[in-house]
C-alpha cells in the first residue's frame, strides 16, 4: 500500500480504500462460512440422535410417532448434506433457524442473551485494563522488589482457572462475608463476582505485556528526550510511556475479548447468569445444532468487529500506523 502514500489523487486513494474494505469483508464472510460449516459437521458427526434429544430427557421414552413427527418438523429425515445446504441457505438469508430444544427462533433467543454476555465481557475487559495498568505503573515506578511482586502477582493471576476463582470468590464474599450475592440479581451487586472472576486472570495477562513494554519505553530515547525537554515524570509516563505500553495490550484486546466469551461459558454457568455462554453449553449438550451455530456465528461477528476496533484503536494510539 506504499502507493497510497505517494499517490494523493483522490480516485486512486478511493479505489484503494474500496479494495481494502472488500478484502476485509471477503475475509469476514469466509470466516463466517467456515465457522458455520465446521460447527454444523462437528456437531452432527458426534453420535446421538437430535430427535431423541428434542423429545428425550432422562426417564422419558419417546413414542415412534412422536419421533417421526419431530424428524419431519425439523427436517432431520433429510440427508445430512441436504440439511447442511438448507442451513447454509437459511443463514445467508439471515434466518438462524429454530431451536430444537427451546421451542423458539434462534435469532431472538441469541439477541436476548447477547446483551448479558456483552455487558459481562466489556465490564471485565475494562476492569482488567484498569487493574493491569495500575499494577504495571506501580511496579515499574517502585524498585526491584515492587517489580518482583508485580510480576509474581501477574503470573499467579494469569494462571487462575475461572471455575476455581469463582468458587473461592463465592466462598469469600457470599458465604463468609455475606456481602455479595452468588447469583445474578436485578441490581449491580450480582455482577461484581462474575466480572472479578473474568477480569483477574485477564489482568494478569495484560499486565505482563504492559509492564514489559512500559519498561522498554521508559528506557527508550524518546522518553529520554522528553525528560531532557524538562517534562515532569508524570507527564512522561502519561503522555509517552503508557501510550507506548498500551499498544501491544490494545492488539491483545481483540484476542482477550474472545477469551472472555469462552470464559463466560464457565462464569455464566457458575453464577447462574443468563447469557450466550450458558446458552451455548446447554445447546451443545442438547445437540441443538441451530442454537450452537447461531451462537458461534454471533460470537464470530463480534470477534471480527472487535478485531477491526482494535485495529482502529492501534492506529489512534500509534501515529506510525496511521500512514499505512
Amino acid at each position: 500500500m506504499a502507493e497510497s502514500i505517494t499517490d494523493d489523487r483522490p480516485r486512486v486513494r478511493g479505489r484503494v480504500v474500496v479494495a481494502f474494505v472488500l478484502t476485509r469483508l471477503g475475509g469476514a464472510l469466509f470466516v463466517l462460512w467456515a465457522v458455520a460449516t465446521l460447527t454444523f459437521f462437528a456437531l452432527r458427526l458426534i453420535p446421538g440422535d437430535p430427535a431423541l434429544a428434542i423429545l428425550g430427557g432422562p426417564g422419558s421414552q419417546a413414542s415412534p410417532e412422536a419421533l417421526e413427527a419431530v424428524r419431519r418438523e425439523y427436517g432431520l429425515d433429510q440427508p445430512l448434506f441436504v440439511q447442511y445446504l438448507t442451513q447454509l441457505w437459511r443463514l445467508m438469508m439471515g434466518d438462524l433457524g429454530r431451536s430444537y430444544s427451546l421451542n423458539m427462533d434462534v435469532a431472538p433467543l441469541v439477541g436476548v442473551q447477547l446483551g448479558g454476555t456483552m455487558q459481562l465481557a466489556f465490564l471485565s475487559l475494562a476492569l482488567a485494563w484498569l487493574l493491569a495498568l495500575g499494577l504495571a505503573t506501580w511496579s515499574t515506578r517502585g524498585g526491584k522488589i515492587a517489580r518482583s511482586i508485580g510480576s509474581g502477582l501477574e503470573i499467579v493471576a494469569a494462571a487462575l482457572p475461572h471455575f476455581w476463582l469463582a468458587t473461592v470468590l463465592i466462598l469469600l464474599f457470599s458465604i463468609w462475608l455475606g456481602v455479595l450475592p452468588p447469583i445474578s440479581t436485578p441490581g449491580i451487586a450480582g455482577l461484581v463476582l462474575p466480572v472479578l472472576t473474568l477480569a483477574i486472570p485477564l489482568a494478569g495477562f495484560l499486565g505482563q505485556v504492559m509492564r514489559e513494554s512500559l519498561l522498554t519505553a521508559l528506557e527508550s530515547p524518546f522518553v529520554l528526550s522528553a525528560r531532557a525537554r524538562g517534562e515532569s515524570e508524570r507527564g512522561v509516563r502519561l503522555v509517552h510511556a503508557i501510550r507506548h505500553a498500551a499498544l501491544p495490550a490494545i492488539s491483545l484486546s481483540g484476542w482477550a475479548f474472545g477469551s472472555l466469551i469462552s470464559g463466560a461459558v464457565v462464569v455464566e454457568t457458575i453464577f447462574a447468569r443468563p447469557g450466550l455462554g450458558r446458552t451455548l453449553l446447554n445447546a451443545v449438550t442438547e445437540r441443538d445444532v441451530p442454537v450452537v451455530v447461531g451462537v458461534v456465528m454471533i460470537v464470530a461477528v463480534v470477534y471480527i468487529l472487535m478485531t477491526l476496533l482494535t485495529d482502529v484503536a492501534s492506529r489512534l494510539a500509534d501515529p506510525r500506523l496511521r500512514a499505512a
Binding site: P58, M104, V112, I175, P182, I183, A272, P274
Partner: protein, 550 residues
C-alpha cells in the same frame, strides 16, 4: 418446633409420616415463643433448580422430571396418592370401574374453573386425552400411559367415561402423574409455542412470566378451590409468588441458599446434605422417586451376561454396600429391590445381593472363564471377560460415578474388566440403541409397580424407530411376560400384588439387575419455609401448603 434434621436413613414412608407429624406440630404453639406457628399469608418463595430448564412448561409435551417439578405448582391431575400409596380424589371426586375392567367413569369435582375462566367439565378431560394422544403433541410419558384408552365420552358435564382396549390396573396410578395433568381446553387450542410458554390449569399458582435461562414467575391463583384430599388447608395458597430459578452449578445453589438469596434448592449432592444437616437454619427433605430403583441392568442378550452364572458372579463380585456407605455418607440407603422403596409392592431380597468374592470366583470357573491374562482378568477362548458400561454423565451424579469406579475395582479382583465409558446423553442413547453395552444404569420414574412391565416385559426389547428401548437388561422370559401382563390387567388388589411379587422373585432370582439405592431426590429448605411436603405421586414438592415464617 424442632425441624432441624429430617429423615436421614429413614424409610420414605416413615419420612412422610414424620413430615406430616411435623406439620401437625406446626399447629400447636411453639415452645420457644419467638416465632409464629400459625400459617402466614403472603411473601415470595425463590426455588433454585439444578435440573435442566424445561423446554416446554406443558408436561404433556415430552414429559420429564423437570417439567413435573414445576408444573406441580400450576397443574393438577384427576387423582392423587396419599402417603400410604392409596389413590385419593383430586379433580375427580369419585370413579367406578366396570366388571370387565374396560369402562371407567370419573365424576369431576363441581365448580372448578381453570385460571382462564374455562370450567372443568367432561369435555375438558376429553380434550386432554385427545391432546396427549395426538402425535403432534409429541408426548412420550403421557402417551404411553394412555395406550389402552381407545375412546372417551361425556356422559354428563360432570361425568367422563374412558373405554379401554384391555383392563388396566395401573390406570389410576398413571393418571395421578403430573405428565397427565388436566389443562384448560381453551388454552390447549392455542399454538404449541403459546401453550408451552404458559400452560393453563386449575392449580394454586399461575405461570405469569418465563425468562428463558433465568426464571419462571408463578403468581397465586386467587380463585383456587381444588386442593387434593390430603392437603392441610383449603382455599388459596399462602404464598403470593414463587420465583423458579435455574442454577445449574451445585455449589452455587447451596451458596445461594446459605446467603439467603433462595429458599429451596433441589438436586442436592451427598456432601452438601451432610454439611447442611449440621446447620440449624436449613432443613432437609428426602423424597425418593417412585417407580424403579437405581440399578445396574445386566444385558442378557450378549456375551458375557447371556450366561446366568456370569451375571451372578458379577453381582457377587461387586462390593456395593461399602461403596454406598462411604460415597453417600449415609444419605442413601442400599436397595435390594427392582422397585423404589416408596412402592408398597416392592420385593426386597438382601440375600440375593451379598458381596461374596469367593463364590464369584467359583461361579466364573463353573462358567468356563477359568484362565487369567497377565493383567489378572479372566479369559475364555482367548477373549477377555470385558463388561462395557456406558455411563451417562447427565444422569449419574458424581457420587454415583465414583460408586461405579468402586464396583470396577472390586469386580477386577474377581477378574471382570469393567470398562466405564462416560458420555453425554445423546451418545449414551446411541450406545444403547446400538447394543454396545453389557451393563447400564438408567433411571425410570413412574407411579406404581407397572413400571416393571415397561422395564422387563420382552415387548420392551423391541426398539422404537429411534433405537431406544426400556428393557435394558433384555430379559425375555415368557413366564415373566405372562405374570406382568396378567398383573397389569388384574383389578383385584390382592391378586395383583401376588402377581407382581411372583414377577419380582423371578426377575431378582435371574440376576438380571443389581439394585443400588432409590432414585435420589433431596431438597434443602431454609428453615423459614414451613409446611412443604413432596406430593406422594412422583415426589415433586408442592408449595400449596407452604408459608414463610419470617
Amino acid at each position: 418446633m424442632q425441624l432441624s434434621t429430617v429423615s436421614r436413613g429413614v424409610l420414605p414412608l416413615a419420612t412422610l409420616a414424620a413430615l406430616s407429624a411435623l406439620l401437625l406440630a406446626g399447629c400447636s404453639p411453639s415452645p420457644s415463643g419467638t416465632s409464629s406457628s400459625q400459617p402466614v399469608s403472603g411473601g415470595t418463595l425463590t426455588y433454585a433448580s439444578g435440573d435442566a430448564e424445561p423446554t416446554c412448561l406443558d408436561p404433556h409435551v415430552g414429559g420429564n422430571y423437570p417439567q413435573a417439578l414445576v408444573s406441580t405448582q400450576y397443574l393438577e391431575s384427576l387423582v392423587s396418592l396419599d402417603a400410604d400409596g392409596t389413590v385419593i380424589p383430586w379433580l375427580a371426586d369419585s370413579w367406578t370401574e366396570s366388571d370387565d375392567g374396560l369402562t371407567w367413569e370419573f365424576t369431576l369435582v363441581p365448580d372448578v374453573v381453570f385460571t382462564d375462566g374455562t370450567p372443568l367439565d367432561a369435555a375438558a378431560v376429553q380434550a386432554n386425552v385427545a391432546h396427549l394422544q395426538d402425535p403432534e403433541t409429541a408426548s412420550s410419558t403421557g402417551y404411553l400411559a394412555l395406550k389402552k384408552v381407545v375412546a372417551t365420552e361425556a356422559v354428563s358435564p360432570e361425568v367422563v367415561r374412558f373405554t379401554l382396549s384391555a383392563p388396566d390396573s395401573a390406570l389410576l396410578e398413571s393418571l395421578s402423574q403430573p405428565w397427565l395433568s388436566i389443562e384448560s381446553p381453551t388454552a390447549l387450542k392455542r399454538t404449541q409455542d403459546e401453550n408451552c410458554a404458559a400452560p393453563v390449569g386449575t392449580g394454586p399458582f399461575v405461570v405469569t412470566d418465563w425468562v428463558k435461562q433465568d426464571s419462571i414467575t408463578l403468581e397465586r391463583n386467587e380463585d383456587y378451590s381444588s386442593p387434593p384430599a390430603d392437603a392441610t388447608h383449603e382455599g388459596v395458597a399462602y404464598l403470593e409468588k414463587i420465583v423458579w430459578r435455574f442454577i445449574p452449578e451445585s455449589a452455587t445453589r447451596y451458596a445461594a441458599l446459605q446467603a439467603g438469596e433462595v429458599d429451596v434448592i433441589d438436586n442436592v449432592q451427598p456432601d452438601t446434605i451432610v454439611q447442611a444437616e449440621a446447620s440449624d437454619s436449613i432443613r432437609h427433605l428426602d423424597a425418593p422417586r417412585p417407580g424403579a430403583s437405581n440399578r445396574i441392568e445386566l444385558n442378557s442378550s450378549t456375551v458375557p451376561f447371556n450366561d446366568p452364572l456370569v451375571r451372578e458372579a458379577f453381582i457377587r463380585s461387586a462390593n456395593v454396600d461399602d461403596a454406598v456407605t462411604s460415597l453417600f455418607q449415609g444419605t442413601a440407603e442400599r436397595s435390594y429391590s427392582a422397585l423404589s422403596s416408596v412402592e408398597p409392592l416392592g420385593v426386597s431380597a438382601p440375600d440375593l445381593f451379598g458381596y461374596e468374592p469367593d463364590e464369584a470366583d467359583g461361579l466364573l470357573d463353573e462358567a468356563g472363564w477359568t484362565e487369567r491374562d497377565s493383567d489378572g482378568y479372566r479369559v475364555k477362548d482367548g477373549e477377555r471377560l470385558t463388561v462395557r458400561f456406558p455411563v451417562s454423565t447427565n444422569q449419574s451424579i458424581p457420587a454415583e460415578q465414583s460408586l461405579f469406579e468402586q464396583i470396577q475395582a472390586t469386580a477386577k479382583e474377581t477378574g471382570f474388566d469393567l470398562v466405564l465409558e462416560p458420555m453425554d446423553l445423546s451418545s449414551w442413547y446411541a450406545a444403547l440403541a446400538a447394543n454396545e453395552y453389557n451393563a447400564v444404569s438408567a433411571p425410570y420414574t413412574k407411579v406404581g409397580p407397572d413400571v416393571l412391565r415397561i422395564l422387563y416385559h420382552s415387548s420392551s426389547i423391541v426398539p422404537a424407530p429411534s433405537g431406544y428401548f426400556a428393557n435394558l437388561s433384555q430379559v425375555s422370559d415368557p413366564q415373566l411376560d405372562t405374570l406382568l401382563t396378567d398383573a397389569s390387567q388384574e383389578s383385584d388388589a390382592d391378586a395383583r400384588a401376588a402377581l407382581f411379587t411372583d414377577a419380582q422373585d423371578l426377575l431378582l432370582g435371574g440376576y438380571y439387575l443389581l439394585p443400588l439405592y432409590d432414585q435420589q431426590n433431596h431438597f434443602l429448605l431454609d428453615s423459614e419455609v414451613e409446611g412443604t411436603r413432596a406430593l406422594p405421586t412422583v415426589s415433586a414438592p408442592t408449595f400449596y401448603d407452604t408459608w414463610l415464617n419470617r
